[in-house]
């Protein structure tokens, strides 16, 4: 589940916190053009996709999104240097906001540059310990690069995530995760839109998913929106093909092959129906 770690213990009080989305307080400090300081649980600076399907192009999220933070808990400060360049720094409790790997905070920063009225480039980095041994050599690093082009009707983006850490284990092996996606979104008219999202995800050492696997996926979505005053009803029909290979790869299939063990198969097709109702005042 998002917010929790596959390898680190759970944060005390997670039962209450897991029900909270962004819950924070911002202060616009009178520094230069205005420095915004925000504290609490806030939307992660890493990633292209939101935790909430209503804010995404597709109903299901990409692999890279599921294994990077959706939310962060701590402090951040952001500042616009000029019309094109914005920077942000943050200090958070850890990679997963509901995990308690240790008491050492993680930190990072972001630079976003608007190369043209339609093109934005963003680079975010995160650095921090995600193990009980908090020595610097065991810290996890993450880089997230996003290039987005937003046109009147067509939006496409490219995202590349790289993360690595040396594991406290015999031989101190280095664990590695990479993810990339290329969503293309076409707004046909006010109500109809379509999206195709090819992606690839590689958890070389099974540190993020607990399964050493390489996943390729293509997600295709058709969306129909019914805006009515301050409500919006979103209907999505989606097809998703996933292919997981590697020593521990595969998707569940059929019945148990042994007591308590479901069989695995490398490919999976999903047909998804989504209904999202929102209101905003």
């Amino acid at each position: 589940m998002f917010g929790f770690s596959a390898t680190a213990p759970t944060f005390d009080g997670f039962k209450a916190l897991r029900h909270l989305g962004p819950t924070n307080v911002s202060y616009l400090a009178p520094v230069g053009k205005g420095l915004t300081v925000q504290g609490g649980i806030f939307a992660s600076l890493i990633g292209y996709d939101s935790l909430y399907a209503k804010d995404n192009f597709n109903y299901t999220r990409p692999w890279g999104a599921d294994f990077t933070p959706y939310l962060m808990m701590g402090l951040n400060a952001s500042y616009s240097f000029n019309e094109k360049l914005t920077g942000a720094v943050f200090v958070i409790n850890g990679y997963w906001h509901l995990a308690n790997a240790n008491s050492v905070p993680s930190s990072g920063g972001q630079l976003a540059y608007q190369a043209s009225p339609h093109v934005t480039v963003k680079e975010t980095v995160l650095w921090g310990s995600h193990q009980t041994d908090t020595s610097l050599k065991y810290w996890r690093s993450l880089s997230d690069t996003i290039v987005e082009r937003k046109g009147d009707r067509v939006t496409f983006a490219f995202e590349y995530i790289y993360s690595s850490e040396r594991v406290v284990a015999l031989g101190k092996p280095r664990a590695l995760m990479m993810a990339s996606q290329l969503p293309i979104h076409w707004t046909i008219n006010k109500r109809w839109s379509a999206t195709v999202r090819p992606e690839v995800f590689w958890d070389r050492d099974g540190r993020w998913t607990l399964a050493r696997q390489t996943v390729k996926a293509i997600t295709t979505t058709v969306e129909y929106r019914i805006p009515y005053r301050w409500t919006n009803t979103i209907l999505r029909l989606e097809h998703r093909w996933d292919d997981s290979r590697g020593p521990d790869g595969g998707f569940f299939r059929g019945a148990e092959v042994a007591p308590g063990v479901i069989g695995l198969t490398p490919t999976q097709h999903l047909l998804i129906f989504g209904l999202i109702f929102t209101f905003d005042r």
């Binding site: 596959a6 997670f14 962004p22 202060y27 616009l28 600076l45 939101s50 059929g254 905003d280």
Partner: protein
Amino acid sequence: MNNQMIGITGVFALTFFLLVLLHWFLSLGRPKRGRFLRPTAPRGTFQLKTKAVEDESPNVSQRRDGPHKETEGEPSSIKATPARCIIAAIIGATFLSAGALAQQANEIPPKPANAAVVSYVIALPSRSASSTYDPSAELEPKSSEPKWHYGGFVDFGYLLDFNHPLNHLFRSRGTTFHVDNLFVNMAGAYAKKKASEQSRWAPDQ
């Protein structure tokens, strides 16, 4: 027709019914349009309603708020009478309680193991002050005090898995991992205010 199909049909029918009910209720008291053309008002009386777009920096926005630009409905001209508020509250409570029930029925304690574990979360979503796209913020008049915004959502999903796994799980996933079952993936409500020079503090929940 098995119980599962009946359940899916029932939820969709209930949702449709509530939308129709909402539509009907909001249309109460609204004058019906005649079939015939009416003379238009003199041009001089026409007032262009515009709102100043807030001068936002382009990119602080790049938080993980999702890429989708929401298509907003027109601002409501209907006043919030007590009766309308009650109806809206009932409909909202129905959606949220459905979410809560679904969560109770499917709650599994989180395990520090393979990601495919817990079901869904009642979350309080919001876009941060530096959101990629915040329609309400863009429409905020420059001169006036920032307003509070509130809202909510409910998200139903059905993932038909052609592998039909017995455990109904999408392996190695942290979100939308329930397959072959109708599920309330998320539901939530929020209230937020944008920080500005007039009001520098801004809570968001």
